[in-house]
Symmetry: D2
């Protein structure tokens, strides 16, 4: 899938293999075509690769979860009503820009950027767990269930030598090496992959999309830049805020 | 803390060390006293033990998260408006029954039971991760950050021999034993516990409170009793639904 | 087998689970009966338990190794010609005391004690490997091939905390725990035990008999009390020499 | 050290990384110069590399073990009296061929080849342990104490897939990977290498020289080609015998 409307704006690496990517979804609701691109882009994170036929995927996702639309449809929002409850998923009546041209396209895009920010993150599970406690955001996460380990091999967060010392680094490597080997042995013994993964530590990297409006980000930064938050999560929040300050300063409150 | 108003109704064991407990929070909003008991009961899961001074704890929690109330206040709800948005946390104007006796106490309790169900669960992290994707519920989870490992030692889900065979069982034990030993070695090396835990597999048991209204439960069961859901999560959902059928049949849709 | 003629003289513990036992084999060559007791005592170390029928065992051992007598017959020696080449194994013509009473029994015993010393040791494999480079001694070692692991469970040398620190102790325990678990998993997978044991570290304790004449001991102590010898072997040699000084001073040169 | 007199005759690989090399030491006792080459060749196995100054090394080795010559001097033998007791180490009066030309050089060499065979082997420790129970041979073994792990990195015998299955292979790899990592961690913690190696399994490859006369080899093959001998040792003995049959048939009895 060649992306025309949904674009990456900026990117920062973090902790070796992690990343923080700021994306622009301001064109997501322009037309049926841009909606398909937006939803397929978000949903394909589950599979660890782009969709082969975006349109078909999006059709299928509309009745995915017990007949309800996939949460990928929450990533189609309109800057005029940026909340999760007015996303395409929760408001199927949401008009595209084409059908409802109350503003110029430029105004619409500008408003979207002032009220909604969207990140794609690669972070360890223990950080993702804390992120996903924030219920004001829309999320879509890589699913190892639908992703071939050969395409997205298990990778783990190794802490910094300056913090844990040579011995600490070695212990983390030992644990991670062993976990990957035992995981592989379990798969070779025909144990279900989804249960075999129970041996992989929460330092395992996962990937996720995260979209929120101004209020969601304000709450998030208030909490996650606070010194009581775990160091890794603070570092992530700071990296996200830095990108917003640069590209969408109205959201970096 | 001796509990007078908040009560466990029923309990089922699951997968060896796990459990599913159905609790009655119908008295949570009767008075200031019952609110304190409800909030302290929920919040104390974070610490792995009952609060010493419930009133003080609850006062502190009111401005916990960057000045906002802890999500434990979401467990004080009124059966007449059972949604999360009308919980004490999100609606500080919520009247107690004492101040707003529009119904008899019996009616109120009955209505609560017909519209809200509350579970305390002990499940592996990989199941908790899936549960917490459901944003219509209120949650409070054990925090290993605030819980002494000696009080709540790390325990892991071991799959059944009938499924993974003797060799499979042995591999899981090997992984878990090793993870616990390396975790211990990291702590002995003064590595921060919250990062050392990155080596513990997602088979690690956690504990959580989960409260939802009728709609939340309907969506949850539609999705999690579906054959596409991972076996362990289906087993859990079935166990929860069984308890509801027995004790709060209106919610076991 | 109740022992009447072959006796333990003294014993010292070493490194937690190890031991150094000094034994008296001066009566080994008095008669056919004492020979049987001596050979069966030595040989039964292979099996990790006393022989059920000593006489039968000894008969079988006479043509054990490709038709040759077992080295257990080297432990029947006469103080008048204490070298390994004049042991019963290498000199089948060796007369018992009964048949060749050139001395009083007391003289014979005294002479034996002045010229031959016999130890039973429990030491890690890496020490046993160094011991057995000394070809002037007779040896008989526990054979895990013939010994049930449940009777003699694998045990490992853990170094002292004062030397390797808490972290070091933890790493050794981690390695040993894991080796025992993988060994068990290999056995459960029907891998030959003798090859599965390849995963067990050389810190694994073994047990052995060791008999030598004065010259053998003189060479041994010259080499193994030397500061160039590995610390553990020096500690062992010192413990052996201490027992000799006390009980057979002529051999503690 | 460029070798002129001591030569490898034939070589076979075994079990992946192992080897069986047949060497020709028939020129070892021709002169002082050939003696130096023979002793230095054998002794340098301890260090995992050729000696820089062979002559100096050999001088030092003459009073190595508590004032006694190193066992490397046992590899200088004369075909007319091929036993270990008449080697240069045990009989310092042994004349070189130059000083005692009772035979032509060709006769001497021929006689040596008919009565003495010398191997260099790379085998796991558990096989080396069994080999070294045969006291009629001369041995010299790689010493990890004097060998840099980077020059001779730890390698382990992995059993064949056809015997232990995919799961078995995986378990051996898991054990060996972990042992190497923990060994490395112990070294990084400044634990003595010689004690840290206690965590390495007896599947660890070692290298050794082994020289014996006709009687020694006859006993060895009688015992080690016997079906009661462990499979790996039988395979080794068979490989050695094959090389002898081809190159020194008088010793392949």
């Amino acid at each position: 899938m060649k992306m025309k409307h949904i674009k990456k704006i900026a990117e920062e690496g973090i902790w070796g293999s992690g990343y923080v990517q700021l994306w622009d979804f301001s064109h997501a609701n322009l037309s049926e075509e841009t909606r398909v691109e937006a939803v397929a882009t978000v949903a394909s994170i589950c599979y660890g690769r782009p969709a082969r036929d975006a349109k078909k995927l999006v059709e299928r996702l509309w009745t995915e979860s017990g007949g309800l639309p996939s949460s990928a449809f929450e990533f189609v929002r309109d800057g005029r009503s940026p909340g999760i409850e007015d996303s395409l998923r929760n408001n199927p009546q949401l008009a595209t820009y084409e059908n409802d041209p109350g503003e110029t396209k430029e105004e619409l895009v500008k408003r979207h950027r002032a009220s909604i920010a969207t990140f794609r993150l690669k972070v360890p599970i223990f950080v993702a767990r804390q992120i996903m406690r924030h219920r004001q955001f829309s999320y879509q996460e890589l699913s190892r269930r639908y992703t071939d380990d050969r395409r997205v091999p298990p990778e783990f967060l190794g802490p910094e030598k300056s913090e844990v010392g040579t011995a600490g680094i070695g212990l983390f490597q030992l644990a991670y090496t062993m976990e990957k080997q035992i995981y592989r042995l379990l798969l070779d013994s025909n144990v279900r992959a989804e249960i075999a993964r129970a041996v992989l530590g929460t330092g395992l990297y996962t990937e996720l999309w995260m979209m929120g409006d101004q209020e969601a980000w304000a709450n998030y930064f208030a909490l996650r830049l606070d010194p009581h938050t775990q160091k890794e999560h603070r570092e992530l929040a700071q990296a996200m805020r830095n990108l917003l300050e640069e590209c969408q300063p109205k959201l970096a409150i």
